[in-house]
Structure formats: structure tokens, C-alpha cells
């Protein structure tokens, strides 16, 4: 057994020698590296859809906020209760108080058809009626263009995501819904959350327009602290006058996003795995070529006393280096092409549109490079073994 230092110098000699011969094999090396870049770009790109969607949903709720729905309702869309219930809910223990009373907003949630800018086809855009406390319940909501709507009028403000994705939602536009016309007075941001996909107006005005009487679909509340949730929930569920359930906003939005996230993630991994198999074949091809072009050189080194372990490691190092380079190119390309790209999809729970931005997170980039490393390692392993196992005498004789 050679000394460790000797072994390392053997590995580095062979690796150097492999890397220096790359310019002569640039076609095949380039093809393999690009193949791996493609795999990583597709993997990172598809998963960035799920990451972006999940991020939008995660930033929609905070742990000290809760949502009250009719018991048995999974979404606001199918929930409903009267004024009396919302009054009892707003008096429940644990709710934070502001200058004008408890931080509880009884809300209405309907959808309206508006064409998507990208395709021109109709999409279900959420229209939400809110009460004054809504602005305090959602701390990160702020007007970024125009002004807030006047309470008691049919003016609306539009989430920045909705304004970007759907036709006719700029300040000064009028939204025609049935026989009513709703002037847009402002655009708001909400920390990238789901509210940015929505149009907001005064709940009382929306009740009248939709003949909803004095009924609501949900109550959004802010608690004094996240730990008050249990007491708040118990008070509501044990009250015989109510038939409601309370959920933490963070849990509610996580549940809402699970179907889309699962679908995209499953398909993303499926596609990327298949592509990775293809890229392994590409890498194998390249590395077989690389070792077969150097058959005599490797045999010479082995005749001089280089160990077969050093040959294996060196060939694998070369392969992994190429793969990581390809993976890094793919990850960068995915980042440049997809990060922050605005889009919208359907929230399957409420059949309404939710706008979000694709997110190429650092974790995804790392994951991409890891995949590349594995592809490179597998692609290098078999050629490396072949190179190390060649009978020296025969290889030296080969032309």
C-alpha cells in the first residue's frame, strides 16, 4: 500500500492529465455537461413553481392570526353565518384589541370572471368584502398606488398580483360585475401573500350587491399572542349559539396549498428523474470515451507503479467535476430564467385564482448541484472501473 501522500499525488497527476485533455474532447464533454445542465435546469425550474406557490401561501398567514368558518366548511367559499354569529365571535377571549374595538373582520368571499392578460381566457378572480379591522388584522397590507377605497361606497382596491395578471385592474379602471360597476382606487401589496390575488371592497356594499342580507362567510381575527389560540378556539367550539370552527391562518393556508404543491412536486421529480437517467447515459458515454482515448497513458502509469485505486478516484473526480460544472450552469440558468417570474394558478379548494412568483431558493440550487454530483458519480464509476481493470500488457500494446 502506497503512502497517503503518494496516493494523493498519483490521483492528482491522473486527474490533471484527464482535465488537460478536455479541449481535445470538447464536443463530447460539452454535450455531457449540457445534458446535466438541462436536467438541473428542469428540476430547479419545476420545483420553483411549488416553492413559489408554497411561499405565497406561507406568507399569507401569521401564527397569531386565526380564521373562523362554519364547521364542516373547508374554504371560505362554502362557509357562511349571520351577523349574530360574527358579533359573538368578535367578543371571544384572546382577540387583540385596537383603538376601535376587537381586531376581528367579518368578511365575504365571492369570485368574478375576468380575462387573464396572458391568455385572454376567463379566470375566477376572488372579490372580498372586508370590515375596517381587516387592515389591522393583516399587518402587512399597504396601499402602493392610488388610495384606499371609501367605506360605504362601491370603490375597490386591487391586490398587486391580481392587477398584474388580469385585464382592467388599474387605478381609474371600472370593473363591470353584472349590473354594477366598481371603480378601482388603489393597488395594495400584502407581503407576497394570497391576498395580493384578490380585489377588496367594503363588506356591507358587497352584501347588498350580492343580496346576501346580513351574512358573512368568515371572520379573520388577530390574537393577542399565538398561545391564545387554544383558548379562543375552545370558547368558540363550546359556545352553543355557534356552529363554527377556528383554524390558525398558517394551518389554513398550508392546507389550501397542499394539493397544488403535491401535484407539482410529484410531476417535477418524475420528469427530472427520467431526465437524470438520460443524463447518466450521456455522462457514461463521455467518460468511456475519455478513458478509452487514454488507454495507453493509463496503462503506462500503472506500469510505473500507480495504484488502480488512484485511477478509479481520478476518473470519478473528472466526471464529478464536469457534472458539477454542468449542474452549476443549469442552476444559474434556471435562476435567471425563472426566479421572480409572475404567474397565477388555480387554488383547487376555492376554485379561485392565486397569483404568485416562482421562487428559485438557495435550497433548490443546492439540490440541483447535488443531483448533478450524483449523476457525475454514477457516470464516472463504471468507466473508472474499466480503466483500472484493464490488463496492463494488453493495453500497452493497443494502438
Amino acid at each position: 500500500m502506497a503512502l497517503p501522500t503518494q496516493w494523493f499525488s498519483q490521483v492528482s497527476a491522473i486527474t490533471k492529465f484527464g482535465l488537460m485533455s478536455i479541449p481535445q474532447r470538447r464536443g463530447s464533454v460539452g454535450a455531457a455537461a449540457f445534458g446535466i445542465a438541462g436536467v438541473v435546469a428542469v428540476l430547479v425550474g419545476v420545483l420553483s413553481i411549488a416553492a413559489g406557490f408554497g411561499r405565497a401561501m406561507a406568507s399569507s398567514g401569521s401564527p397569531d392570526a386565526a380564521l373562523v368558518l362554519r364547521s364542516g366548511a373547508d374554504t371560505e367559499m362554502v362557509s357562511g353565518f349571520g351577523r349574530e354569529s360574527t358579533r359573538i365571535i368578535s367578543e371571544a377571549p384572546g382577540i387583540a384589541r385596537g383603538p376601535d374595538g376587537p381586531l376581528a373582520s367579518a368578511e365575504l368571499f365571492v369570485i368574478i370572471n375576468l380575462p387573464k392578460i396572458s391568455s385572454g381566457t376567463d379566470a375566477n378572480v376572488p372579490l372580498r368584502g372586508v370590515e375596517r379591522a381587516a387592515l389591522r388584522v393583516r399587518r402587512d397590507m399597504r396601499i402602493i398606488d392610488g388610495r384606499m377605497f371609501e367605506w360605504g361606497t362601491n370603490e375597490v382596491v386591487v391586490g398587486v398580483g391580481a392587477a398584474r395578471e388580469f385585464v382592467g385592474l388599474h387605478v381609474g379602471d371600472q370593473i363591470k360585475v353584472g349590473r354594477y360597476s366598481w371603480p378601482v382606487t388603489g393597488i395594495f401589496a400584502a407581503g407576497g401573500g394570497a391576498a395580493e390575488s384578490e380585489i377588496w371592497t367594503d363588506a356591507a356594499v358587497l352584501q347588498a350587491a350580492y343580496n346576501r342580507g346580513d351574512s358573512f362567510q368568515s371572520v379573520y381575527v388577530r390574537l393577542k399572542s399565538p398561545s391564545d389560540f387554544a383558548a379562543f378556539k375552545d370558547a368558540l367550539t363550546t359556545d352553543p349559539r355557534l356552529n363554527v370552527k377556528a383554524v390558525r391562518q398558517t394551518d389554513y393556508f398550508a392546507e389550501q396549498s397542499s394539493a397544488v404543491t403535491k401535484l407539482v412536486t410529484t410531476l417535477g421529480y418524475l420528469i427530472a428523474s427520467l431526465m437524470a437517467v438520460g443524463a447518466v447515459f450521456g455522462a457514461l458515454n463521455t467518460m468511456y470515451n475519455s478513458v478509452s482515448a487514454r488507454t495507453r497513458e493509463i496503462a503506462t502509469l500503472r506500469a510505473l507503479g500507480f495504484g488502480s485505486g488512484a485511477v478509479v478516484v481520478a476518473v470519478m473526480l473528472e466526471s464529478v467535476a464536469l457534472a458539477v460544472l454542468g449542474g452549476a450552469i443549469g442552476a444559474c440558468a434556471a435562476y435567471l430564467a425563472f426566479n421572480g417570474f409572475h404567474t397565477a394558478t388555480m387554488n383547487w379548494q376555492s376554485f379561485s385564482q392565486i397569483t404568485f412568483s416562482l421562487a428559485v431558493t438557495p435550497q433548490l440550487l443546492v439540490k440541483g448541484v447535488l443531483w448533478a454530483t450524483v449523476i457525475g458519480a454514477i457516470g464516472g464509476l463504471f468507466p473508472a472501473i474499466r480503466a483500472a481493470r484493464q490488463p496492463i500488457a494488453a493495453a500497452l500494446r493497443e494502438l
Partner: protein
């Protein structure tokens, strides 16, 4: 043809390389098949029958209901053969993850307007006799192992009964099949008269209408007439062909066509690089042999043809195997467990796949073949 053995032995010259190239082509075509099936699942729910049908919904949004009385008014409009309605029930069977559609319908009208659902006549008669009867598609029946005669409890997320409960019970009286491969056999349909009488509110209101028109060429015109009929009423309508409705719905999920096309673009571009590179490398290694061929009288065109034939053979072989594997894999149906009921590899995409493999063979072979054709005999023989 007589050169086939020559082409074949050229491919066998470096077996590992050929096999690896072949495998990467196969993988590309398996992916192609998979993505076609995904696109089909998300966009392909438009049957031929749908060309004769219009969907009429509330203009503001699909969640707003329409009066039942619209049916008579629609059927008086010239060009309309018949109209019937459905309503979204939004039911859950045991677990919200077990998603499938359940809608109340009027049985005979519904089956007449949707001939793509095949229900045995005796089951149809049973449905007409049984007020609480429901018919369910083959896929869902198999998924939950439902048989004719079973009672199934379904929790509606929207509709409460007069007694305040949200739990509805239906008697399975029939199981329907799809006439075409892209007929969705996951829904359950039950009787509207039972539903309307038992629900606590919204009596006489329905979700949307399907209209059968007499002449599919006049779809746009009839749609305009329908919308004009209800203009300025409390419930204005939006009417469009069923295909346009389904496509708009799919667009809400995202631009699936664009996403699948970009992924496939990336895949085929990569494979093109890998295969093209392999072939040009093997041509380079054979410079001497090609020189000999030319020296013994092979024309430039024959050499070009030989190399092109080699790349086309490789590509067609890989494409064929890949498409066959994709066909076998997708024939098991939906890989996500219920979210993509129409998941299959459509025949027109198989044909497209074959064409792509021919095109790939020609493109990858072209430059190496050109290189081989331009070889000068003296140079190539000297190079060894």
C-alpha cells in the same frame, strides 16, 4: 437495403457507445410520452361530442346560480335542440383527498345530451324509478369498490338538507362507461328532483346549463342569441362552446402547453447534442474506412446516405422503443391518485413522436454525413 449489414456492423463497432446513445434517446421519448399524457390529462377533456354543446353559466362567475326557468326560454331560441342543467354539489366521500365530481341532473335529459356516457338500459330504468338513485362512472366505482345496490354517504361542502345536515345518502343504481378514451368516468350523477326538494335553500336554482345545438357550425351565433335573451335580467349569462369552456378552465391552472413544450424543448435539444456528438465522433474514427469505401467506388451520395442511415436507424430504434415503453407505462393510468383522471398517451402524439424521431435522425446525421461526404480519398487514407 443491401447495405443494412454494413450499417449494422458500424453501429456494433463500439457496442457500449451505441447502447448508451440508444438508451438516452429512449429516455427522451419516454419523457415525451409522459408529458403528452400529462398535457392530455389537463387539456384534453374535450370530446368530439362537445362540439355540439354549449355551456351557459352566470356571467359574473360560475358560483352564481341560474333560475331553472331559463330552460324553456333557451329551448325556444332558434338553433337550440335541447337544454339541460347541472349543479356543483362539492361533496366529499370519507376524505377530502378522494376528490371526484358529483352533480344533480335530470336523468333522461342528461343522458340524451351526453351520449358519451354509456349506461345499460335496465340501469337507466332503475334510475328513473329510484328517487335517491345515483349513477357513477366506472373509474370511481372501481376505486371505492362500489356495486349496484350500495348506499353511499357523501358530505356536501355546500348544500345542507332541510334538517340542517350536510350528509346525503345515495343509492347506486348504475355504473356507466365512457364511449371514448377521453371520456371522464370519475363523476357521480344523481337526481335533481330529489336534490331540489331536500336542500334547505336555493330552490329552483341550478349551476349551469348545457345546450345541444342543431348545427355545430353555428355555435358562435347561437351563443350570442342565448346571451342576448338574458341580457339586462337579474342573472345575465355567458355562453361558450364546451371546448372553449374546458380550455379556459385549464388555462386557470396555468399555461400547461407552454410548460410541457419548454421541458420537451430542453430534453430534445440535449439529446440532439449527445447523439449528434456520438455520431460525428464515430465518423471521425472511421475516416480511414470511409476513404477506402470511396476508393473502391462508393459515390459521395452513397457515403452521405450510409452515415445518414446509421443516425436514422439509431434514432428510430430509440424512438420506437421509447414510445413503446411510454405507452406501457402510461397505460396504468393516473400516477397521482385521482388528480388527473384523463391521463393517457393519445395516438396522435404517438405519431408525432415517430415523426420527431425521424427528424432527429436526419438532423443528427446531417453534419457528420456532410463531413464524410467531403472527405478526399487521398487525405483520408493518409490520415491513419
Amino acid at each position: 437495403m443491401k447495405f443494412l449489414p454494413l450499417i449494422w456492423s458500424n453501429l456494433r463497432r463500439k457496442k457500449t457507445r451505441t447502447v448508451l446513445t440508444l438508451l438516452s434517446i429512449i429516455v427522451a421519448f419516454v419523457l415525451f410520452g409522459f408529458l403528452s399524457a400529462i398535457r392530455q390529462a389537463l387539456l384534453g377533456g374535450v370530446s368530439l361530442e362537445g362540439a355540439n354543446r354549449l355551456i351557459v353559466r352566470h356571467k359574473v362567475s360560475i358560483i352564481q346560480l341560474l333560475p331553472m326557468s331559463y330552460k324553456e326560454r333557451m329551448e325556444r331560441i332558434p338553433g337550440v335542440a335541447m337544454a339541460t342543467h347541472q349543479t356543483w354539489f362539492g361533496g366529499i366521500y370519507q376524505d377530502p383527498k378522494n376528490f371526484f365530481m358529483q352533480n344533480p341532473v335530470i336523468p333522461d335529459e342528461f343522458m340524451r345530451i351526453h351520449p358519451e356516457f354509456i349506461l345499460p338500459p335496465e340501469q337507466m330504468r332503475a334510475w328513473q324509478r329510484t328517487r335517491t338513485g345515483a349513477v357513477v362512472g366506472r373509474k370511481t366505482a372501481e376505486r371505492f369498490n362500489w356495486k349496484v345496490g350500495d348506499k353511499v354517504p357523501i358530505q356536501s361542502s355546500i348544500w345542507s338538507r332541510k334538517d340542517g345536515g350536510f350528509l346525503w345518502e345515495f343509492d347506486i343504481v348504475g355504473i356507466f362507461d365512457g364511449r371514448d378514451k377521453n371520456t371522464d368516468t370519475t363523476p357521480l350523477f344523481f337526481r335533481y328532483d330529489y336534490f331540489d326538494e331536500a336542500r334547505s335553500g336555493a330552490r329552483g336554482e341550478v349551476g349551469w346549463y348545457s345546450i345541444r345545438i342543431q348545427d355545430s357550425a353555428r355555435a358562435a351565433e347561437v351563443a350570442k342569441l342565448v346571451d342576448a335573451e338574458f341580457e339586462n335580467s337579474a342573472a345575465e349569462t355567458k355562453t361558450e362552446p364546451e371546448g372553449a369552456f374546458v380550455q379556459a378552465w385549464a388555462q386557470q391552472v396555468g399555461d400547461i402547453a407552454l410548460i410541457t413544450a419548454s421541458i420537451l424543448g430542453a430534453v430534445f435539444f440535449t439529446i440532439l447534442l449527445v447523439t449528434g456528438n456520438t455520431i460525428s465522433q464515430s465518423v471521425r474514427e472511421r475516416t480511414g474506412e470511409l476513404g477506402v469505401l470511396k476508393a473502391i467506388g462508393f459515390t459521395n451520395a452513397a457515403v452521405l446516405g450510409l452515415v445518414m442511415a446509421e443516425s436514422c436507424l439509431l434514432s428510430l430504434l430509440g424512438g420506437g422503443i421509447g414510445l413503446a415503453v411510454a405507452w406501457a407505462l402510461t397505460s396504468h393510468g393516473d400516477p397521482t391518485g385521482g388528480m388527473l383522471p384523463l391521463f393517457f398517451f393519445p395516438v396522435h402524439d404517438v405519431v408525432l413522436g415517430v415523426l420527431i424521431s425521424v427528424a432527429m435522425g436526419l438532423v443528427t446525421g446531417f453534419f457528420p454525413a456532410l463531413q464524410a461526404m467531403r472527405l478526399r480519398v487521398a487525405d483520408s487514407l493518409r490520415r491513419i
